[in-house]
Amino acid sequence: MKVVHIKCPKCQNPFYSKATDTVFLCEHCGAMHVREPELKILDYEFWDFAQAYQGERYYMPFWRLYTTVTIHHMQVAGGALVKLANLLAGGGSSGNIFIYVPAIELSPEEFKYWSNLLTFTPPRANVALKVDKTVPRLPVKIGEAEAFKLADFLVLTYEAEKPGVLQDIRYDLRVNTAKLIYVPVFYYQNRYYPGV
């Protein structure tokens, strides 16, 4: 087994930390990187806390995927008129969407809650210019590749949950960019609440 002391790929600063995570944020130059499946520097941003709430403060990571969805064919039973993708600009069969995929382990219900909240009602959040280092980051458990699969599932869910009963669909989902977004949250009585 090869054993290496983790260093920042950008500035070579060695990492010291009690907490383990699958993403590594350099305290020296601010670069964030992953080492699996391959070494890669990640695009990320932190949002500012805008609300006061009871509980402990955390940063919860989400993959924000900027995607292009193109629907080639869709067959729906029962619905009179099928509205393709409300989400897509102008109701056409192709469009761009930001999809938020939680990057931590959540129950299916919480997963849906958080991805719907941020995808459909994105809060007006300010990008934090200075990250509050006293607030812990929840470790990333869902990698970028898994986030792509979950985004695909979410797109399918948006289509299936429209009126009528989906019988067949052919579509493409292209992920243009991926960014890790740290959303401020409060942890109170076993639940996370948005802090934006």
């Binding site: 010291y16 699969k149 979950l150 299936a160 067949d168």
Partner: protein
């Protein structure tokens, strides 16, 4: 957090590193250096404590002798020849399935007089979004009636795989993971319960993949010069699989019932067909009668044994040779 000593030292301070097996990064307990572990990926391994001792295993076997349709004198005439504890390695995959299954179900419609009035389609779109557990035996212990884990919880103890009687893992990690993903996919599609599928897309995202060393007791016993076995779950403390001699009385009852019923149905069928009351019904009754006769015959032939656990339906001579071999190998160790 990890408990397992990796036998390697921190490249920064030289302290001994401890981590969970299969972990990719670890923090040094002495200098806090973050360490990346590369290559030679281990498998996360856990082991459950055996809560059943030899006396309890014997008692459980004797209780089991008395239960069900087993030979009534099994408790007296059954002689336990071997009883030994064993650890069985199982692959366990916990994965989240996320997707949709679309299609329809067909239902026969009837009019007010009960006559068939066409087929109705009920369209369905079903979301599958939940976690599934898949387990499968990771070794080849011969026929011991256990292929899947029925229980996933127990008292976790350090996995000293080299110090307990166990079987070598025979499937590779990659093969097992692929098999697990395929099985979870299948379980997910089935859970949607759509009769005719027109569209399906399900992503399987592995969450935890590990080897579980699970304790069992293997019991071999003799009854009328034939060898049988029982497998005891060492965590739950109950017999989960086995073979046992059937009871001749129950068998003759079933045999008699089967032939009488089958014969009557066949005779009624011949009568119906010959008298022209209903030829179709008659033929149906004949076929039904013959099937019943064959079934009772098969039960009598092979039903002389009672089987429990993951034993393939197809009858075949059983061999617990392998489990027997290991018992002699570990004989001095644990029994």
């Amino acid at each position: 957090m990890g408990d397992i000593s990796l036998g390697i030292s921190c490249p920064s301070c030289g302290g001994a590193l401890k981590a969970d097996e299969g972990a990719k990064s670890v923090s040094c307990n002495y200098c806090n250096a973050l360490i990346w572990l590369e290559g030679d990926e281990g498998v996360h391994t856990i082991m459950f404590a055996n809560m059943v001792d030899r006396t309890k295993a014997l008692n459980l076997t004797h209780e089991w002798f008395r239960r069900g349709l087993k030979a009534r004198d099994l408790k007296k005439a059954g002689v336990i020849t071997e009883i030994f504890p064993l650890y069985l390695p199982f692959w366990r995959l916990n994965a989240r399935a996320a997707g949709w299954v679309c299609g329809y179900r067909e239902r026969q419609k009837y009019d007010s007089q009960g006559r068939p009035a066409g087929v109705e389609r009920e369209y369905m779109e079903r979301m599958v979004f939940r976690d599934f557990d898949w387990t499968y035996l990771a070794c080849d212990p011969g026929d011991i009636g256990v292929k899947r884990l029925r229980n996933l919880y127990g008292q976790v103890i350090p996995a000293n795989v080299n110090e307990v009687p166990t079987f070598e893992v025979t499937t590779s990690k990659t093969d097992a993971l692929n098999m697990g993903i395929q099985n979870v996919h299948q379980m997910a599609v089935q859970s949607a319960n759509v009769q005719h599928i027109t569209f399906q897309k399900i992503h399987v995202i592995p969450r935890q993949f590990m080897l579980v060393y699970y304790p069992v007791w293997i019991v071999r016993y003799k009854y009328q010069e034939r060898v049988y076995f029982a497998t005891i779950d060492g965590v739950l403390g109950k017999v989960v699989a086995g073979r046992a001699p059937g009871d001749p009385l129950y068998q003759s009852l079933i045999m008699t019932g089967g032939s009488v019923g089958g014969g009557l149905a066949a005779a009624a069928g011949v009568y119906l067909a010959l008298t022209g009351i209903s030829e179709e019904l008659g033929i149906l009754a004949i076929v039904g009668g013959v099937v019943l006769l064959i079934a009772s015959y098969l039960f009598f032939r092979h039903g002389s044994e009672v089987v429990e656990g993951d034993i393939e339906a197809k009858y075949k001579g059983f061999s617990i040779k392998k489990a027997g071999e290991i018992s002699s190998a570990v004989g001095g160790l644990r029994i």
